[in-house]
């Protein structure tokens, strides 16, 4: 188990998803998602992303956002992986990396679009973000749909 990597991975994930670390841990998916990244793009690339994130010093929010965009989301190699991490947390799906990424940094055998596990689907963060349940699971109860939605403010 990559204990240090998991800590950085969770801090990064919390910042880019807009959810708290405790909420991410609550999904039970952090190990599975880091493992998925290791398996698909390899631990060296994952560590490159996590080190780049760890190097960002604590700063004001606006400045941090700019740094995240310049150093990570706007990085040709790390950007697509960072965006895929957001998608993993939100819907439990690994989306195949863009073609130009594969051509430049190599095709990975496991890099196809797939749902990580049945649990990854039902634990997606998209659903709480929009005040709904994952379709087909965690039902809110008879007649709940008639009430106004409760969407958490962030």
């Amino acid at each position: 188990m990559r204990h240090h990597a998991i800590d950085v991975f969770l801090r990064f994930s919390a910042e880019v998803t807009g959810f708290k670390i405790v909420e991410l841990r609550g999904t039970g998916e952090s190990g599975e998602y880091l493992g998925t990244l290791d398996r698909i793009v390899g631990p060296d690339v994952v560590d490159e992303l996590l080190s780049a994130y760890a190097e960002l010093q604590p700063r004001e929010e606006a400045e941090r956002e700019q740094l995240l965009r310049r150093q990570i989301f706007g990085n040709e190699k790390l950007g697509p992986i960072a965006r895929n991490i957001i998608k993993l947390w939100y819907v439990g799906i690994w989306y195949q990396l863009p073609r130009n990424w594969r051509e430049r940094w190599g095709v990975r055998e496991a890099d196809v679009t797939f749902t990580v596990s049945p649990n990854a689907y039902t634990e997606g963060l998209l659903w709480p973000a929009i005040g709904a349940n994952p379709a087909g699971a965690r039902a809110p109860g008879y007649g709940s749909w008639a009430l106004p939605p409760e969407i958490p403010q962030v």
Partner: protein, 616 residues
């Protein structure tokens, strides 16, 4: 609903071939299940032959469907159900545009066009009722009189009032939730003291927002005015039982089925997943009716047996036996053949498979209409964003809609429609909410709190109006077979030719204008876009539209009053073969603007009565 575990043990082919059953039924969907249940409960010995695997006979099997659904990245109508090359099924995700002069063969149904449909049906135990949305409107009285009232299509051989008692039987069997006061419109008639088995499901918050915006407004067609409102749909899913049902006896909802006690599915919980699978079985599926039939221990189930040929005695014209191909492993094309014998035979494999089987059996037909007059509702989708958050993505898939234009004098010249408000947002049209996430992350470059806020704003205010537009029978819309196209077991695949009639397209063009009017009144931003490269794209009078299949397949063996102009009589008995009943949507001579399941179920209760008379 419990049934004895020994009844769940599937019949072996060898054993089945040694008997002559009172009734042999091909296809364990809702039509076959109703007839099987009625006859076995009346003491008849019934064999049900099913092409699919029958995984869902216990709760454990049903859970496997659910896990398969969770684990798939593309959650289409068929995603919970196993891929089975020995009993293949059409799938929306495999449909491609047709190349000029070339049939489209990538899916199970070979399509020669010109219109290419993504319509589906499911070949598992329970049939398409496993993934149906379970809206259960009755057809309108005027739908039975299309020729005499509007000079279109043909009148049914039976009237609304003759079918009405059978509608009530179907509503009991399916377990319909609705309030009768909401359903008395456009001359829909019920006995004075009638109530539905369960109270209507409440309208969604989204429905109410739409209703607030349009109530009290009107549209005008051909000089007639139609007031607008959102009305609840009757639903084949469990709600709160109505204590006044059945003269005050009340109604006990049927929950999940299994061989052991399970407390699940007695009331809809708002999973918002009716299509492709209700996780708790609060939605009706034919397995519930089959479980009742299995309780009698007079109905046997032969699964993994694909009916391949209907054999007829040339002297009497009666069906002598049905040849089935029985396979052990869905991934191996190996099979053994058996002959199933009975007094009466029922084909209830769905409008396309029943026609396919008859045509593959090369049976003579006096009318020449087997496979012809294929119908399916044409769906036109319109999507917009409401000015405020409406809580989209919550509830059962569709609770309300606009149904005032299901009937009217305009039907002399253009198709009628009913409009569903989709509680699952733009999913059907553009793949929401997944596509919204990808767009915001990859294109809008959002992350963190801003991404959350944008997602909530974008998805929770989605409004999708799905117009279910009437399609009339046309003999050249048809199913055929061609030995050039076969499945893994060597059975010929269905070949479909279909064009959307002008009458329907006039209704489609009006539907688009109607949606624009509704969006105007709601202050909604219209995002509807019909991509000209889409397989369902149709050009009509200067504008383009995308038409989607409705999975409401009908009309391949239409009923009528004589053997030269129809395939079956009003009891769904074949004119050409006295002991053969062709049942299901295929018997319907027109489909109006009602989802077909309730009406075909009502017809099957009528047929069961006729079959019992015949066997007496």
């Amino acid at each position: 609903m419990r049934f004895p575990s020994q009844a769940a043990k599937k019949t072996q082919l060898e054993a089945a071939c040694q008997h002559t059953y009172d009734v042999v039924i091909v296809g364990a969907g809702v039509a076959g299940a109703i007839i099987g249940n009625e006859l076995s409960r009346a003491g008849k010995r019934v064999l049900m032959v099913e092409a699919g695997l029958g995984e869902d006979i216990t709760v454990k099997g049903y859970e496997e469907y659910l896990q398969r659904f969770y684990a798939t990245a593309v959650k289409d109508n068929q995603s919970p159900y196993p891929v089975n090359p020995n009993a293949p099924m059409p799938r929306g995700t495999t449909v491609r545009p047709v190349a000029p002069g070339q049939p489209e063969t990538s899916g199970y149904i070979v399509q020669t066009g010109p219109f290419i449909s993504d319509t589906t049906y499911t070949r598992v135990l329970g049939g398409t009722s496993m993934h149906w949305e379970a809206k259960t409107p009755r057809m309108l009285p005027e739908d039975f009189e299309m020729a005499s009232r509007f000079g279109r299509a043909a009148d049914w051989p039976i009237s609304y009032d003759e079918l009405e008692p059978f509608y009530r039987q179907a509503e009991r069997e399916i377990g319909v939730s609705a309030d009768v006061e909401d359903q008395r419109y456009l001359d829909l008639r019920f006995p004075d003291d009638y109530v539905f088995p369960m109270r209507g499901l409440p309208l969604s918050y989204l429905d109410r927002m739409v209703d607030k915006g349009i109530r009290g407004t009107e549209v005008e067609i051909d000089g007639e005015r139609y007031p607008l409102k959102v009305r609840p749909y009757p639903q084949g899913r469990n709600g709160i039982p109505n204590s006044e049902y059945d003269g005050g006896k009340g109604y006990v909802p049927v929950g999940a089925v299994s061989t052991h006690q399970v407390e699940e599915g007695e009331r809809c919980q708002g999973n918002n997943n009716c299509v492709p699978i209700c996780p708790v079985q609060a939605k009706y599926h034919a397995g519930k009716t089959l479980a009742k039939a299995l309780q009698t221990e007079r109905l046997e189930l032969l699964t993994q047996a694909v009916a391949s040929k209907v054999h007829v005695d040339p002297e009497t014209g009666r069906v002598s036996h049905i040849e089935v191909k029985y396979y052990e492993d869905p991934d191996e094309p190996h099979f053994v053949t058996g002959n199933i014998r009975g007094q009466l035979f029922v084909l209830s494999a769905g409008a396309i498979e029943t026609a396919r089987l008859l045509l593959a059996s090369n049976l003579p037909s006096t009318s020449g209409l087997v496979g012809r007059n294929l119908m399916d509702h044409a769906y036109l989708l319109n999507w917009a964003l409401l000015p405020e958050v409406a809580g989209t993505m919550r509830g059962t898939n569709a609770t309300g809609g606009i149904v005032d234009l299901r009937g009217g004098s305009f039907r002399r010249s253009q198709a009628a429609f009913s409009v569903d408000i989709h509680n699952d947002g733009w999913g059907w049209a553009v793949g929401s909410p997944y596509t919204d996430l990808l767009n915001l992350v990859d294109d809008h470059n959002q992350f963190g709190a801003q991404l959350r806020r944008d997602l909530a704003q974008r998805i929770s205010s989605q409004l999708l109006l799905a117009f279910m537009v009437e399609v009339l029978p046309n003999p050249s819309n048809r199913v055929t077979v061609d030995p050039a196209y076969t499945d893994a077991l060597g059975n010929m695949r269905p070949v479909v030719s279909f064009s959307v009639p002008d009458y329907t397209m006039r209704g489609v063009a009006y539907a688009r204008r109607f949606a624009q009017t509704v969006f105007q009144r709601l202050g909604a931003r219209d995002y509807t876009f019909y991509d000209p490269t889409d397989y369902g794209y149709i050009h009509y009078e200067g504008d383009g539209y995308i038409i989607r299949g409705g999975n409401h397949l009908a009309g391949t063996h239409i009923m009528g009053t004589d053997k030269h102009t129809s395939v079956v009589n009003s009891d769904q008995r074949s004119w050409d073969h006295q002991n053969l009943y062709l049942v299901g949507g295929g018997s319907m001579p027109s489909i109006g603007t009602a989802n077909v399941t309730l009406t075909l179920s009502a017809l099957c209760f009528k047929t069961a009565q006729a079959m019992l008379e015949e066997l007496r």
